[in-house]
């Protein structure tokens, strides 16, 4: 199966590294684009060589070619969209994904922007074209939560989803709880370790978690919700005393995303949880708890970020598409 990759940031590099390291998977890279260049070879590119070129020149190939050229080349079965997320418009990824689907190409993405912005529209486009749109890597990093909802727990009725969906916030809260750090100290530490962006607003105000909640709600129930439908409270107002008061009751505080369709509840907020609750996880981990009618409660936990971890989710999607749609020789 031929794969085109748009975007060579940490996630794109991680995917290429794994494609180079695991040739036995049988995925052939035929096109790559970064923000300033692209290269296309229908016969197959060497992912390791492209990573070297990118490392030395800062580009993946000759300038002059762009992401649109890759999409228009048609030299791929699956487009892997990994360009930076725009939470408001979803662009340019939204256009990339639409163009590929309209051409009858499968799409795999780690990009939350377009999936949160127009899940229903993109899903309809994919269905009309008879192709797959998969986005496991958008939520919970390496945790196969979308697979669990669609495949593993298929046939269940879901009553709620709750989860720890942002590793940065979980790290900060873990450190405030364990070490009595103030919010500012824990945030500074998270920045030093590379867990928080220079501008952490998106994470600490709960927006990133809310976008993931939108994706889960639309995947699970087709609710057609957007970011504006989520009641969002971040962790930036939390005090050390709040963590201490929770600790006095053998509880702690975590940023929890929660959807309960029957109660019309869509909320991201810091919550008090008993220490032995399955969603009380440490450090940058993520966890999602699915409440179902047949399986009861199912909790998935794992690494919520990281380039190789995200590659795991992308490759899982790629193999699922190959097994379902593409006859491989």
């Amino acid at each position: 199966m031929r794969v085109a990759v748009l975007g060579l940031g940490a996630v794109g590099k991680g995917l290429l590294r794994m494609l180079a390291a695991k040739p036995e998977i049988g995925l052939v890279l035929t096109a790559v684009a970064d923000s300033s260049s692209a290269c296309i070879d229908p016969a197959g590119l060497d992912p390791a060589a492209i990573l070297d070129t990118k490392c030395v020149t800062g580009r993946c190939g000759p300038s002059g070619l762009t992401a649109s050229d890759v999409i228009d080349s048609g030299a791929y079965d699956v487009l892997v969209e990994l360009t930076p997320t725009n939470a408001v418009t979803g662009e340019p990824a939204l256009t990339h994904i639409r163009s590929a689907l309209e051409r009858g190409k499968h799409v795999v993405t780690s990009n939350k922007g377009p999936i949160a912005a127009d899940h229903a529209g993109l899903a309809a486009l994919a269905e009309d074209a008879g192709v797959a749109l998969r986005y496991e890597a958008t939520v919970g990093g390496a945790i196969p939560v979308i697979h669990a909802i669609r495949d593993g727990l298929a046939g269940n009725r879901f009553s709620s989803i709750t989860g720890v969906l942002n590793g940065t916030c979980n790290y900060i809260l873990t450190r405030m709880d364990d070490e009595g750090l103030t919010y500012e100290q824990a945030l500074a530490e998270a920045r030093e370790l590379g867990y928080a962006e220079a501008d952490p607003t998106y994470d600490v105000r709960g927006i990133d978690a809310a976008i993931k909640l939108v994706i889960l709600a639309n995947t699970c129930w087709n609710l057609g919700v957007t970011l504006d439908d989520i009641a969002i409270t971040g962790i930036d107002g939390l005090t050390v005393d709040a963590l201490r008061l929770a600790a006095d009751q053998d509880c702690t505080i975590r940023l929890i995303g929660e959807v309960v369709p029957a109660e019309n509840l869509l909320r991201v907020a810091p919550r008090v949880l008993p220490r032995n609750h399955p969603l009380v996880i440490e450090g940058t981990l993520n966890a999602v708890m699915l409440s179902t009618d047949m399986a009861g409660e199912v909790t998935l936990m794992g690494k919520g970020a990281g380039s190789v971890e995200t590659a795991s989710a992308l490759i899982g999607d790629l193999i699922a598409i190959r097994d379902r749609y593409v006859e491989c020789g």
């Binding site: 107002g237 939390l238 005393d241 709040a242 929770a246 919550r271 008090v272 949880l273 969603l279």
Partner: protein, 164 residues
């Protein structure tokens, strides 16, 4: 409450039916034949929750069914829930915040533990509310949420189903 009823078919149902009619929620039914009790009667203990104002009507309705109530143990304000509040709690009139819950009649602030780190810095409090029923607890929390929104306070609630 502990009930005494005739040991004949249909008696237990007769005693339980009014409970749901009056909006009560049965938590447990403990049913035992005590050796010392007369053989034609049966002692049953029922643990239930019901809004305070409907209790008298329920007691009357059970009596109409020919069931005698031997003992009625009441524990008002059955539900407790703690939430954490952060912000300028004192300067936004904490007395008023508490008063708005207490004024409901069905819920009250049972405990308040305030930490004030320094002047002008936000304080943090653990506020424990007691209410008669689960739904009244929900209403009390709604009031607290709206007071908090009005006063710019942050509320950290327990995750439902995960209360300590």
């Amino acid at each position: 409450m502990k009930l005494e009823m005739k040991d004949s078919p249909g008696q237990l149902v007769a005693a339980l039916t009014p409970i749901s009619e009056y909006g009560g929620n049965i938590i447990a039914v403990i049913h035992q034949r005590e050796p010392e009790s007369p053989s034609d009667t049966l002692g049953v203990q029922i643990v239930l929750e019901i809004a305070q104002e409907r209790l008298d009507a329920l007691v009357a309705a059970i009596k109409v069914q020919g069931v005698s109530i031997l003992r009625l143990g009441e524990e008002r304000l059955l539900y407790r829930q703690s939430v954490i509040m952060i912000g300028h709690l004192i300067h936004t009139d904490i007395g008023d915040t508490i008063g708005r819950i207490d004024a409901t009649g069905f819920a009250e602030v049972a405990e308040l533990n305030v930490h004030m780190p320094a002047i002008a810095e936000p304080s943090t409090a653990l506020i424990t509310i007691k209410a008669t029923t689960r739904s009244e607890m929900g209403r009390a929390l709604d009031i607290l949420r709206s007071v908090a929104a009005e006063k710019g306070l942050l509320i950290v609630e327990p995750l439902a189903g995960a209360e300590a």
